[in-house]
Symmetry: C2
Subunit: 415 residues, 2 copies
């Protein structure tokens, strides 16, 4: 199988040679000696971010000092939010702001949504939703005496419109799901599920963390009420960069988030007595905007915007399809399964491969410079960020995995 | 008075010449052409931060990517918290963590404190407390049906032990105050007020934003239960850098903060079902730590630590005393008052000068390159960060103010 493997790498090289997004890799800092397949955990560093951050620090903070707040900093949450809304989320201006961590943003919007549905006693979510969403909901449910109704989809999939439609009812205050499931990569039907929630008067809150910057989103069109997401995955905002909140225009006047800070108040620098929420998404703010993180998020969003989500999506489908194809060829007989949807339209820019020793294999891969991540209980998750991942990276990663599996099977290169 | 003024500036120069902290100014980026007297709003940029941030971005994020989380990033909130606790807060290790904005931190701790005193119906705070604290409390009180009892101190002072002692009672769940008042600079008696709160079984939460890095703090010794503060003022963490929370050791097991995120859970990467709070201050975490902001905060804290709070405090007293003295000489007869405590021991590293046209004067000062800030209704606030402010800066600032007042009074240099 040696020659065949060479052939296979040539095939990857050929795919890279015709990849219209290949040149975007030069816009990023690419570390030597590793094959990075974890861009859905932490996106790579855009070169533009290095320059921008140096300018924000040395010229803005260093030279302008407090004047920076009236020279653009205070507007960053909303201006970055609008850029994100337009380029990535399918959201018209004035509905997105960037602030806080994803967890805090999710808490604010989930709490505010529950306040809008008093008397309703249930929250509907996915048993396999991203952990922070589940834990926030548990906290809110405990405080308010609500019940969480846990939906359950297949391990290689997620929650369908039918799952939601059959569980939602007039007791449901809030339905909340990840748009792309963090482990399987399953893409939920935003329009269908939002409609099913609305059918019974529930609100819908989407977590877009594993979608934004990799798959098309149309929040306005698809009936999302509320959404949150992080900027450090496909949006390349850097470790712990701030998250964003989307609140549909029509809901903004009634929605009241729970953390009443000075920067969410009307005319904050009056520092007056009594909290009066600011108009629009400004009311979602609490504390002082994290300027450095916002600048980094903005640079990442701009690269995504420049490449365009349709082109990114096309490459994401090609990469994940290629990975599954190569896995089925190279890894056949080693007990590796595919834990992601087979239909590329229903799959984000990530693939879960399953194996009983996924944890050990993942550690061994990282030791050899191939970086995916492990997800409980049995998943090696490959996040194929389309702007920085080459087809040869996929091939190299799986070929290394094949070597590891073959050694474990006793040195034979064919099981 | 011309020659006298020259003499006065020489006096400032003489004070600078013998200032043992003068050399710390070289550790900061100092903008040309301005006199910066607003270090209590936004601290100057440490040169070390420029280098550190470049390393964190290019070497850690750029090269190590997701591996950064297991190579120190995940520990930053607590390691920076412990450095801050030891150097600045008077807090033994394991009681401080850095995360989120001050507003979100204040919300978490105030909410958690109220949960620990069920059945009690009142919150006690200062009518002139920093706005974000007041607004957060209003939000919590509205949700829980509690009453806020507003204490009121003199405009040039703050809340005394007696004020608290006579208002606190068995209905009081929480007493919360700023340690240094944001407008007047009044320093509250932490030990006395904490004891008065405890006398009736209330908890005490301190906002240290205008104290930390400028005046001595001894949270452990002085009986603080809880505290929060920002890192972008005297701690020089940069615009919107993350805040910190202190929870006294004995309270940590019972205290449960409301935003149950994945990183506050025991064994977060198990991503298991059901929130179980982590041990110690880890349970205060919600979302992903903001790595860049944490690195900046750490550098600022390290400079403060190196200089030492006692030396910083000594210079802060000298600077503010000098400012008041010069104001009383240079500005006599122009309707300028002192809106800060006269006793230097009771005053932070800031001075409020009052004038009916404070707003206009402040704008005119900034136009001339002298940067204090305006605070409603009639205060020009001078924040004299001891590591970066020279006595000549104080003199130059007040001399410019004198010119403005004299022009307004008709060009006479003596009113």
């Amino acid at each position: 199988m040696g020659p065949l493997m060479d052939l296979d790498r040539s095939a990857a090289e050929a795919l890279d040679a015709v990849d219209p997004l290949a040149w975007f890799r030069d816009r990023f800092v690419i570390p030597d000696g590793i094959v990075y397949l974890d861009g859905n955990s932490l996106g790579m560093l855009p070169r533009a971010t290095v320059a921008r951050l140096a300018a924000v620090v040395s010229q803005e903070w260093g030279e302008r000092l407090i004047r920076g707040w009236s020279e653009g900093w205070m507007e960053l949450p909303n201006s970055v939010g609008d850029e994100l809304g337009s380029a990535v989320l399918g959201a018209a201006p004035g509905q997105v702001t960037v602030a806080d961590s994803t967890t805090v943003c999710f808490y604010k919007l989930a709490s505010a949504a529950l306040d809008l549905r008093p008397g309703r006693t249930e929250i509907l979510t996915d048993l396999d939703n991203f952990p922070t969403d589940r834990y926030v909901l548990e906290g809110l449910a405990a405080t308010r005496g609500l019940t969480i109704r846990w939906l359950s989809g297949p391990a290689d999939g997620g929650i369908s419109v039918g799952d939601v439609a059959s569980a939602v009812g007039d007791r449901t205050a809030l339905v909340t799901l990840s748009h792309t499931a963090y482990r399987s990569g399953f893409i939920a039907d935003m329009a269908g599920i939002s409609a099913a929630a609305h059918e019974t008067g529930a609100l819908i809150l989407w977590d877009l963390s594993h979608s934004a910057g990799s798959v098309p989103l149309a929040l306005d069109r698809d009936g999302a009420d509320l959404a949150v997401g992080c900027t450090y995955k496909y949006l390349c905002g850097g470790p712990g960069s701030p998250a964003y909140m989307y609140v549909r225009d029509e809901l903004q006047e009634q929605l009241r988030q729970p953390i009443w800070g000075w920067l969410g108040r009307e005319d904050p620098f009056a520092m007056a007595a009594g909290y009066v929420p600011a108009a629009g998404v400004d009311a979602l703010r609490s504390g002082t905007p994290p300027v450095l993180g916002l600048a980094c998020a903005q640079e990442g969003i701009r690269i995504v915007s420049e490449a365009g989500v349709p082109a990114i999506r096309a490459k994401g489908i090609a990469l994940t399809s290629y990975l599954i194809e190569v896995a089925e060829g190279l890894l056949a007989g080693f007990g590796v399964g595919v834990g992601s949807p087979r239909d590329p339209a229903g799959r984000g820019s990530q693939v879960a491969l399953t194996h009983p020793d996924a944890r050990g294999l993942c550690a061994a891969l990282i030791h050899r410079g191939v970086i995916p991540d492990f997800r409980e209980p049995n998943v090696i998750r490959f996040g194929l960020a389309p702007l920085t991942t080459r087809f040869v990276d996929v091939w190299d990663g799986l070929n290394t995995l094949r070597d590891l599996l073959a050694s474990a099977a006793g040195g034979s290169s064919r099981p």
